[in-house]
Amino acid sequence: MQKVPIELVKPGMVLARPITNEAGMALCAEGTELSETIIERLIRMNVSHMTLKGHPVDLGGETKTKEQKAEELKTRFSRVQGDPLMQKVLSAAQNALIELEAEREGDNIGEGGHP
């Protein structure tokens, strides 16, 4: 999944999330394969960004690595270390992070499956 500004969207890319208007109504459904016509229409509706399947555009290196994300997650729990309940919550969050990251990677290769 990748959030991309509309200027970089090309026909053939697929929406990972619906596009909604300012009232939150869906303009374009999740899973839609974008065509030239649809992209033009979205530009006319002032849509600025959309979330695409996979990782179709190289936006430069501003994204955090999964190691960085895992490290930050641990730091956020630094004040509740040693508490068994909070340890359980931390493990669940670590798990979720690993799973979602793995899914994203799978997405990028174009398999979309779990390891």
């Binding site: 959030k3 300012e22 109504m25 960004h49 979602l100």
Partner: protein
Amino acid sequence: MSTKVQQLKVLARKIQSLPTLPKVVEKLMTMVESPDVSPKDIGKLISSDQVLGARVLKLVNSSFYGFPGRISSISHAIILLGFNVIKGVVLSASVFDLMERSMVGLWEHSLGSAIASGTISRALGLNEPEEISTAALLHDIGKVLVRVSLSADYDKIVDVVNAKQISFREAELEILEVDHAEIGLWLSREWNLPEKLSVPIAGHHDPDGAVKFKDRVAVVHIADAFVRACGVGNGGDPWVGQISRKAWDSIGMDGIDLPKLMRKIMEDLEEVEMFQQAPTG
């Protein structure tokens, strides 16, 4: 206890005026008290302010109310979600208007807490998950008041958080002697919010002290920590706070699959980022 009351009175005097709510919101607050007002009347009133109307629709169409992208009008929203939810949503849509510009992190934290509360409530099968989400949306409203009406104190609190590496709430207690939960309660009384919303606002840091609506308070308390765990938004400091074991047990959190729930919440929270990117938004 009484010193807290006194301190609140001092603050109230210092605050001079509350953040001004749009006329429409003030009208709405009195209107919903009347027993014979119809969803249509209220829908008309809210829609008369186009910006507010659009914001309300955007909020009710977000996934935490369970009808994503399907609510086309405000009167429709009222029928589906009820007056309490609409009241809370209208309030947050106007109050958080201030935040979306100056406190994006807190706005994201609030939206995230609403999403997480909805997911937790549904996983537990609690009644009225929409109202619990709305309480979560408003849970840090006291922080907005401090920022808007006591801005010198707010800056001091931020400095103390950074200097001492303590939580925002601890810093509030140091500078103001009351915390944002207390201030939020006071504010919700000034605004006549229903107890279903004001009690979780007041109790989200002390769920064990709640007498009423214990379930709702516990959910908001836990959602607050989960959203911090996921690193979404900014609640004033970067840390996950201690979850009350008692609150956790009281709503039977051990009965649900925590890793699955956390994964769902982390996925759902991606919507917070999406929220900023609708056209013209």
